[in-house]
Symmetry: C2
Subunit: 527 residues, 2 copies
């Protein structure tokens, strides 16, 4: 573990963040809300800290797995810490705890809020709040598709297992290219949604903010009643469509754009996502139609919206599902854990993992009947390697342990069982709203101080696939902090690459490239 | 799968049950409650059915794994079906659903009741109700220590893994001997508890009934207020002690009796059980002392009793823990899942499994940091084989799936989330009382008809380690029902053994012997 190297990359990330902090300024100036100055100050502070860290350290060797974990986790924490500056400086969220909670909720695309009156905030602040989600989603796509698989974590390994061998138009193996392509897709789909929402009557500001919340499966709205504010079938269906898109593996979108039109239908995980949303809508719809809405179309729309929002872990709402039947609430609770596809911006366990878990259990039962037979775990025609299955099982065990610990803390802080249970579920799975006192018509403002920090930690752990964060708590992780030139592989190219100028916008993108170029080399040499 | 062979053994088991049904008669006659006639009729019906099944079939080959699973599961179901006859015939629990629920709750040592006024029942009926638990406990000890490990199921495999190699005074490998020894220990400890409870002021009837409930970790009391009725520190501490004994691996008791006095302390699982009970008592005690009881001694006693009762999955109560702090309720909910030691009469997941799960997660995290290293899962100095670890993970996944399905059904039937969640937890883990509408001061009478059958199924599935029951739902399990003489190994001894007379009391014991003698031979030939 080379801590200076980590600091170097974190410095670069902060420099990138400082540039992004300037984006809300045009909106602030246009609406004349007077908060633009706070963004300038925040950007300056962030830049200075980042630049100092960057200049005091240097990149004298490749980034290895351990540094990779540290950069990812500490990177997200730094973004939340510096990203909350505008909230604090402007005085709109004066407490550090609340501001950090809100910013972490943004960057982890959770969407849990401590704000009681959202509409009372200035436009600049609202724009920044929504933008943090979109940036978080951008980070997650690259992280889940490109970085984590190389660190041996995350669901995308399984996606790779499912689509093996050389296919003519598969994603390019070079991560630099991958990042470019995925972000291109992300920006393109975001642009289309913004346009469609504007056609539905929203202005540019509103549609941008809601697009940020949708595409990142975040769920921050700029209205107190969330999307329910608009009470428009058009808006609802547009957002349902794009929530589904955001909960889909972005590799599939890329393939679709490459004219491989059956990419979605051919993917096991995506079909399961659609099946889950469809069957849950049906099951819940029976109740909402008979109990909440006399109109079948309305019942369908409201149910489909809530189901899609929860299953993709977005968290937008158009109805108070805490008033629905207990069985409907329970289905939504299960969906929170399912989450979207691997390689999407969705949180949760990810459908592919649950699918493999079910296959594993079936294999175990068959093994009991035929003790001598070797029964592999398959997805489609592909055998999932044992190591991947073990990795998933470990992930789920860890998630369960974390979940139980979280509920324990929340009940000690005085929350009732349902509120404690769903508060942890909604943050760990990056959903946003829960049930009970954190239900869709309430917020997280009333959670005690310690509870907010714990929940912010859960957002982060859930977002970074648990392992990535928890590994930092292993004592052996922090050994040899000053270790130099150990395990050095292929030093030259990355260093040369980083001797060029850094201070243009694509710095973050370059950082990612750094992570990959080096790790690719390292992993190739291991394999 | 040879169905006639299964019917033959089930016939034997029913003949045994019919003999046991005569035991409540002396109490019924002594107290002159007039229900003795219903036990005679029930015993006759049970005997006739059993004898018919037995005579129409014959044992023409060994019992294999598949028949073993069928005998165990169908055996428990038959016991519940015929065991509820006295309740129905006497008219004290007239509905089949309720009577079956109550009897299944007894034989699975769950202790969940549909009775509203327990004290209104005649002595004979109460004695039978308690006796079903003790019989169930007897079955479970032999099942978990001797039968299931040979079928590749259950926690005792792990116990064996932990204490490997030839030790001078280990349990004899012959199952016949094992059964004798374990039942001897069970009867001995039960006798001591009965005596101690009588010294505390209970009469023979009361102390026998409560001993049955304790030693089986059942929890049926003959008082409406459960053990709280006696309001006696002596009774409380005696029962706490024996609940702990019942939640301990019976092999450890045997070793202790063989003068291996450190057997408990040297066992990892038992130490963890004591640690869990101790730390939970401390955590919960802080709240009960400050909120419920002003007296420290009383707070300790009440807390320790409830914690031990729930952690060993007994379900006796002396306080309404649904009134305790939310964090205390949540700790109890976690303890429900922990359960006792493997090889005890306790239900739940079993502590050794959770311990190995934690070790597995730690190994996985270390594996991420050292991708090339092979990191084994250890308990003490012993490496747990990978197959055992996978078996545990499969078990937990299956349990989780079953649990989610159960809560789903209960919420559809209209139960609120907390009641649905804890009703399923309390039955699947064979605890008894839950929270909400199935809390310690309530009962299961209000659960809709379908719900009672589903919960009875959960009691059975939980009691028989899930796999044993679910394997009967695999279509391939029922293939070749008339298959004969296939896979015949070592036919002669068991057949000759069973040509002797069957109709003395130890028939059940002989049946078990049959199961084992043959399976031992079979498994030996595989290994």
């Amino acid at each position: 573990m080379h801590i200076k190297l980590v600091a170097h990359v974190l410095g670069l990330l902060l420099i990138f963040l400082s540039a992004v902090m300037l984006l809300p300024i045009p909106f602030s100036l246009y609406y004349g809300d007077g908060v633009h100055i706070y963004f300038i100050i925040s950007a300056l502070i962030t830049f200075l800290v980042g630049f100092t860290a960057f200049k005091l350290t240097r990149l004298d060797r490749d980034v290895h797995a351990r540094e990779g974990f540290a950069i990812v986790t500490l990177g997200w924490i730094s973004f939340a810490l510096f990203g909350c500056l505008p909230f604090i400086l402007s005085g709109y969220i004066p407490s550090l705890t609340n501001a950090f909670f809100e910013t972490m909720s943004g960057f982890t695309t959770t969407g849990a809020t401590i704000l009681v009156d959202i509409e009372g905030l200035p436009h600049g602040i609202l724009f920044w709040r929504s933008l943090t989600q979109w940036l978080g989603g951008m980070g997650i796509i690259v992280l889940s598709i490109a970085i984590l698989p190389f660190l041996g974590v995350g669901g995308m390994q399984l996606f790779k297992a499912e689509v093996p061998g050389p296919t003519p138009d598969k994603l390019t193996p070079r991560v630099t290219q991958t990042a470019k392509i995925l972000w291109g897709v992300y920006v393109l789909i975001s642009a289309v949604e913004t346009l469609l929402l504007m056609l539905g009557g929203m202005n540019l500001f509103e549609s941008l903010c809601h697009t940020f919340g949708t595409m990142a499966t975040g769920g921050f709205s700029i209205k107190n009643a969330s999307i329910g504010h608009y009470n428009s079938a058009y808006v609802d269906y547009v957002i349902i469509f794009f929530m589904l898109a955001a909960g889909t593996n972005f590799s599939l979108h890329y393939r679709f754009l490459k004219k491989e039109f059956k990419s979605y239908i051919k993917n096991n995980e995506w079909r399961l996502l659609v099946f889950l949303i469809g069957s849950s809508t049906l099951l819940i719809g029976i109740h909402t139609f008979s109990q909440q809405y006399s109109n079948a179309g309305m019942a369908f729309r409201k149910t489909l919206f809530q189901v899609t929002s929860i299953c993709t872990t977005t968290g937008f709402t158009t109805a108070d599902f805490a008033q629905w039947a207990f069985s409907s609430q329970f289905i939504l609770l299960i969906l929170m854990f399912c989450g979207g596809c691997a390689g999407s911006t969705g949180g949760g366990i990810k459908i592919i993992r649950l699918y493999i878990l079910i296959k594993f259990v079936i294999a175990e039962i068959r093994h009991l009947m035929h003790p001598k037979a070797v029964i592999p775990v398959r997805v489609g025609n592909v055998v999932i390697p044992r190591d991947n299955v073990r990795n998933i099982l470990g992930f789920l065990a860890l998630l369960t342990g974390l979940f139980i610990g979280g509920v324990m803390v929340m009940t000690i802080l005085g929350l009732d069982l349902v509120s404690a249970f769903t508060a942890v579920a909604a943050t760990l799975n990056n959903v946003g709203p829960g049930l009970g006192s954190v239900g869709p018509t309430y917020n997280y403002a009333h959670i005690p101080l310690i509870g907010k920090w714990v929940l912010a930690f859960f957002m982060l752990a859930g977002r970074l696939e648990v392992y990535t964060v928890l590994i930092l708590f292993a004592p052996s992780f922090w050994k040899n902090l000053k270790q130099k030139n150990v395990g050095l592989i292929n030093q030259a190219p990355t260093i040369y690459f980083f001797r060029s100028d850094y201070f243009l916008i694509p710095t973050w993108y370059r950082t990612t490239r750094l992570l990959f170029d080096s790790d690719l080399v390292q992993y190739k040499s291991i394999l």
